[in-house]
């Protein structure tokens, strides 16, 4: 039930003692502590998005996934989550307003529907950088390469910090 995850942050004067909660508007799954399942994605995130200081840091943690909604590997959880997200979105679409963001939908589930027992959500997107792809891209007439994105980029949004343990610096990397 407990798995290792990775948390990336700018390198500051003091090492972190606990992960930093993300409140950003563009955080996919709402206000949460965000972790990567694979260290390679934590490093890429550091190189691409944590560029304010000369270094970035990767911390590792053990996380208890007992009450995590696993939309990546658990089929039942995935279809359940999809159905609930679309239910809330329909409420907004009916009013013909601006579409809600995924963050707003997840915040709704957490705060309005009081899903307090859900301690986190495991979710995926696809890496946009294909430089490490081992498969030759398809070249169409305009010579634009199209990559087959076969590797999932998996993140965990943690809502309950009590499931995080053994938070420790793993690596400090220079840009």
């Amino acid at each position: 039930v407990t798995r290792k995850f990775y948390h990336t942050q700018e390198s500051r004067s003091k090492l972190l003692e606990s992960p930093v909660k993300c409140f950003r508007d563009d955080a996919w799954l709402g206000e949460a502590f965000y972790f990567w399942l694979e260290q390679i994605d934590a490093e890429k995130w550091g190189f691409n998005s944590k560029r304010k200081t000369e270094y970035f840091e990767i911390y590792s943690s053990d996380i208890n996934c007992e009450k995590v909604l696993n939309t990546v590997f658990n089929e039942e959880h995935y279809y359940f989550w999809l159905k609930q997200i679309e239910k809330v979105a329909m409420l907004e679409v009916k009013k013909n307003r601006k579409k809600p963001t995924l963050k707003e939908l997840n915040d709704y589930l957490k705060k309005r529907a009081t899903w307090n027992e859900v301690t986190g959500i495991l979710f995926q997107d696809m890496p946009s950088n294909n430089s490490q792809s081992l498969i030759e891209p398809i070249l169409y007439n305009n010579n634009r390469p199209v990559f087959f994105v076969y590797r999932k980029r998996i993140q965990l949004a943690v809502y309950d910090s009590n499931i995080i343990s053994n938070f420790a610096l793993l690596d400090k990397i220079k840009h």
């Binding site: 359940f80 009013k95 915040d107 709704y108 009081t114």
Partner: protein
Amino acid sequence: LIKLNIKNQNMLDLKELERKLDLALAQETIESFTNWLDDERSINYLHQYGIGTLISGEKISLEKNVIEIMPTSCVIFKLSPITIEVNSFTILAA
């Protein structure tokens, strides 16, 4: 091992989660949902400035917006088009 995995997958009661969501949606009016969404967007805007402690009597400029810190226990955020009162001195700041 297979039995253990199945048990682990069921630690969340999906039916109960769905029941709670359906109840929330059934009680929701267009107005209440819109208000909640507007509040969330306002709060998110403030959250992006981080968390800190402000000193009474100071003024802090956030790009085009100004936070006025009142010499009482009440702080008013003036962030067009919203105004939010916060009854604490530990507030969101740049």
